[in-house]
């Protein structure tokens, strides 16, 4: 039986998006989490706007990192529990294509949504309007990269009952270069020095993970599902 790959990809994408929008609370929770975590920093440290502006890139990026880790945990879990994932693996569509579509769909409902609400947080943290474009671009590249890295961790821990702690332990060290370049791009946009270099590095990381991570995710799923 031959399967038309692009048609299959479209069907999977449609299904993922439909499932995402059928459960709006699951969609909103990471966003609310992102907002709450960013609120915690001014409460715990200091509400001085000048001080907040210095910390804003770090606060924004750490919160985005934690929020996307929280949401990536369920990427394969539901499908693995009810057997859909095994059917997908057996369907004849290359597993790499399936994980690419699933991860991209997940990014659309979590990462992209996070980018959309980020100006709200940025305003509260005193980031100037001129830096919004760079900040959103860097967050878009960063959350996509995080989705790929997180999907590797999610695929490795899919069979575990309480894998979310282990997921963070696995993904956070891998995500640290991303945090460095992302926060420095935002920081440079705020201070007005050229942020192009950091953005290029972020884009390079994004391309690297977009091309190599699907292979690792597919291999990890084969290991944990067999």
């Amino acid at each position: 039986m031959t399967v038309n790959i692009s048609a299959a990809a479209a069907v999977i994408l449609q299904r993922e998006l439909l499932l995402g929008f059928r459960r709006p609370d699951q969609l909103l929770q990471p966003l609310v989490f992102f907002l709450i975590v960013t609120t915690l920093f001014p409460l715990a440290l200091s509400a001085q706007l000048s001080l907040l502006r210095d910390m804003a890139p770090g606060v924004l990026w750490v919160s985005a990192l934690l929020a996307s880790l929280l949401s990536i945990d369920v990427l394969f879990k539901g499908d693995a529990d009810d057997g859909t994932l095994e059917q997908l693996v057996l369907s004849g569509v290359p597993l790499g294509v399936i994980v690419i579509v699933k991860t991209l769909a997940h990014w659309l409902v979590s990462g992209a949504a996070l980018v959309v609400v980020s100006p709200l947080v940025a305003m509260a943290l005193g980031i100037p309007f001129g830096a919004f474009g760079t900040m959103m671009l860097s967050l878009a590249l960063g959350t996509l990269t995080l989705s790929w890295l997180g999907a590797i961790g999610a695929a490795l821990t899919v069979g575990l009952r309480r894998g979310s702690m282990l997921l963070s332990l696995i993904v956070l060290p891998l995500a640290s270069p991303l945090l460095i370049f992302g926060a420095s791009a935002t920081d440079r946009a705020i201070t007005g020095s050229g942020s192009a270099g950091a953005l290029y590095l972020l884009a390079a990381l994004c391309v690297l993970t977009s091309t190599l991570a699907p292979l690792a995710i597919a291999a990890a799923l084969r290991i944990t599902l067999e």
């Binding site: 590797i152 282990l166 290991i223 944990t224």
Partner: protein
């Protein structure tokens, strides 16, 4: 001609093969480390800038180097296990992980002790220090993933995959002092061209490096034997090996 090579994939053969080598390796490591310690701590001249404090390099640099070396060993052994489905590969990877984590910890602690008199602080958020710390976290991740999966074979393969993904960190650590303007001093030994160290300092350091490597291999063999006994505990050869 290749039969000896194929035999390396058989657990009883490897178990018997590495056992007699361990005392020799340990003796060689003891000689090299003994020479390196005496020559480095007593006979080498004090550094013109750092005085006697530089002597911790004889422990710090070899263990930092071995921390990367052990990680690479773990990843390569895991890849061999994944690609060719060789059980020995996973056993080597499992045996190498705790040793590598220990070397990383030693490198971090000796680095902190060295940093105190030189930089005035135990810890700095410097690229090389931070990436070495991340290496330690990677080791922890690999070790806990292996233990977390109920099925041992799946745990092995998942940990091997994670180790391979984490290999990207190894060049980052190695070249961090060149890529970023770092507080940590640049490479003096491992670089192309003539070394910047005089022979009386360099020779003990090289002896320590070789000694640490041989020590690593010896400990790896010992752990590998234990690992093989544990993994093959239901096999007949293990019962025979224990009885004799």
């Amino acid at each position: 001609m290749w039969t000896w090579f194929y035999r390396l994939a058989s657990p009883p053969y490897v178990y018997g093969f590495v056992g007699p080598a361990i005392p020799w390796l340990l003796a060689a490591a003891a000689c090299l480390i003994g020479y390196g310690l005496v020559a480095g701590l007593v006979f080498a001249p004090p550094d013109y800038q750092q005085g006697d404090a530089f002597r911790i390099i004889y422990v710090h640099a070899p263990s930092a180097w071995l921390s990367l070396c052990a990680y690479t060993t773990m990843a390569v052994a895991g890849a061999i296990g994944l690609v060719w489905r060789i059980k020995i590969g996973f056993a080597v990877a499992a045996a190498a992980a705790p040793i590598g984590a220990s070397f990383t910890l030693v490198a971090l602690v000796t680095g902190a002790l060295w940093g105190r008199p030189m930089w005035g602080t135990y810890w700095a958020w410097d690229p090389r220090l931070t990436s070495e710390l991340i290496l330690l976290f990677l080791y922890f991740g690999v070790m806990s993933l292996r233990r977390a999966l109920d099925d041992a074979a799946r745990g092995d393969r998942a940990a091997a995959l994670l180790a391979i993904v984490g290999v990207v960190n190894v060049p980052i650590i190695h070249f961090s002092v060149q890529w970023w303007n770092s507080l940590h001093q640049g490479a003096t030994v491992m670089k192309f061209g003539k070394s910047q160290m005089p022979g009386s300092m360099l020779l003990p350091l090289l002896a320590m490096l070789c000694g640490f490597m041989i020590f690593f291999v010896a400990v790896l063999c010992q752990r590998l034997r234990a690992e093989l006994l544990m993994r093959e505990r239901l096999a007949v050869w293990v019962r025979e090996a224990i009885r004799t």
